[in-house]
Symmetry: C2
Subunit: 421 residues, 2 copies
Amino acid sequence: RINADRLQETIHHTCQWGAAHRYGSGPTETGMSRLSLTDDDAQARRWFAEETQKLGCSLVVDQLGNMFASRRGATSNPTPMIAMGSHLDTQPRGGRYDGILGVVAAVEVLRTFEENGYQTHHDVGVVNWTNEEGARFPKSMMASGVWAGKIPLEQAYSLADIFDPSVTVKSELQRLGYIGDVACSSAGYPLGAHFELHIEQGPILQDAGKKIGVVQGGQAYRWFTVTVDGRDAHTGTTPLKSRSDPLLAASKMIVASNSIAKSLGALASTGVFKIPPSSSTNTITSRVTFTLDIRHPDDAVVDQVQSLCFEAFKDIAKQDGRGVQVNWTLDTDSPATKFDPDCIKMVEKAATDLVGSDGWLHITSGAGHDSVNTSARCPTTMIFVPCKDGVSHHPEEYCSPEDCALGAQALLESVVNYDRL
Amino acid sequence: RINADRLQETIHHTCQWGAAHRYGSGPTETGMSRLSLTDDDAQARRWFAEETQKLGCSLVVDQLGNMFASRRGATSNPTPMIAMGSHLDTQPRGGRYDGILGVVAAVEVLRTFEENGYQTHHDVGVVNWTNEEGARFPKSMMASGVWAGKIPLEQAYSLADIFDPSVTVKSELQRLGYIGDVACSSAGYPLGAHFELHIEQGPILQDAGKKIGVVQGGQAYRWFTVTVDGRDAHTGTTPLKSRSDPLLAASKMIVASNSIAKSLGALASTGVFKIPPSSSTNTITSRVTFTLDIRHPDDAVVDQVQSLCFEAFKDIAKQDGRGVQVNWTLDTDSPATKFDPDCIKMVEKAATDLVGSDGWLHITSGAGHDSVNTSARCPTTMIFVPCKDGVSHHPEEYCSPEDCALGAQALLESVVNYDRL
Ligand SMILES: NC(=O)NCCC(=O)O
Ligand SMILES: NC(=O)NCCC(=O)O
């Protein structure tokens, strides 16, 4: 049995690094801003290293700062460890559970093994994946993507901070001393399986009154950065027909992408919208950059939304005044994923044992997770627990202590089931 | 006769302070970024003070940093000076002529008087008005507005930097030592008349092949800051119907304002669009702030565009998901203006003498100018000269040396005509 109080204490202990966006007077009533590879992230990493080493784990840091902590099993010829993985980085206005719960619960599972003198058959351990959020360096699940061979290492290294192009993943890893010797790949550090506990981040479990989601896979998504170029001009003296107004065009593009996605039952969202700092009320700006995030459980629908959007964008670029230039880059491409049937069965069994067969449901993840990447290289699945009103990527993101504990217990039992398999 | 070469040299000499946005290799092929009450603006102000004092002018700085340089006329009982005024501040991506030409040409007129030993009947002088652009502190023609009694002094003092709320007009005036003793009002420093030379900033003169615009007045305009509040949410797990997405709503509002203005032959423009710095690709942002600039020669049409826009905005705020909150503030309100018939006649005469009656035309200003404010308190008009392709508020803004010189000569002759009246 995991220790529910210790789990809570540890979650909030680690949230001292990067606590932000207070919304209430209680000690834990803040959100988090612990962007990947910042000083706060480094503090959380140091905690992770110390804590797992205290539990007798051996720790490996790979070339991208992924941290693998492994506890020996009984078997004499060691096999790749059964991993419980998630991430300690957060969104800039994120909460205390997204990613954090998965890593801290995994540490709690190891603590429970340790204090009960429980020996697994295989090696079992925890992974802290670098830059899952893609918030600071705009490629989500970055380091698990490199580990899985989906993203070239050099491409990840050269990713720049979204607001400060002078800073890259590599320069921050170097600054913090987090470039390890081991290759970031499934050959460099193979895993036997990957289980990830995570808050659902959506409303499905809460609405259905269920306690555990057994995750079948993840929906597809793609991220783009769209750049619209126009020409500075005076707002009072420049007739509409003489303008080349990127802000008007970008607005039309965002409206169009939303309506295209809606018509196909998909999602299209813009989270970042930037103009040059030298902008003013009475000047048409020269350039707009915005992000576009397209999602659907079916790869083909993501394709379709994408091509309809870019057709519409090209059309909009010609619509007003002298027109604008539009260009885009693909930043993240995460196809639809199906998780491993054996892993899923182990989680189903754990869930039924804990909450009965009526207490859980099958679910497909709306968000990307490191598990989407690991599933390309090792048997993988995830366990979801409900979060209040399905809210995440928000300071008030909340998962009750009972649900955190239930999730951690389900994680423990899934791993034990899999280890026995 | 003004000295055309000296005029050019002086324009570009003063553009050493705040030169920015190089677009060619020539020494003058840069734009300007000399925002009001920055260190660069202070350097230009010091040049203005020294130069006018060298010409024997007495210099007065009022409470808002407006600079009045006055040269004695022949009359024994002094009357309020005939002013030639404009501004030395620029847009963040502005050019070398907007405002600057008007002030430097006025200094050139005084130099021409001085070297010819020409004595006017009345006192004649130059005004450098503070924060005409409204680019940094978002109220255009701010200090002439206070002088004219249209804007309360305290309201101007408390205006904050559009990107740094900790800095205000007052704190910057204090920092630079530019709060003078004289009241900023037409009682504190009365003017007998106000003539302003300015680039047209539009394409009308160039298209008509005319050299001088005799300005009849200015079109009406209003500036608003619109704030749209929503709620952070995950872009992958939050169904469209559960969202409160201010970025989508703001985009729709900008598209709507453009189409409303278009349908009424008016202008509506958004130059500034801001989201919180803690934004990311996979998070719906919590707040968007954007500016709206509505213009038309007729006050009633500006009214109409405004009310249609805000009706549409309220409607859009309810359209998607859980809706958003929309609020706005009025930042600048500049009604349509008619300039003084006597002043206009003096400019018409000067223009006819210089380029013949076919060489100039009557024109209404699309942009606001300090003259719009002074015209409420003293006889006022303006002289326009063409600028290349009507481009301004852009680094490549350009007025040929010949047109600059012709404008300065027209300014001189208009003032002489008026002085003799
Ligand atoms: N779980 C999560 O928020 N991951 C970030 C990648 C995504 O946007 O889906
Ligand atoms: N002339 C000029 O650009 N003035 C600033 C006020 C306006 O936007 O019209």
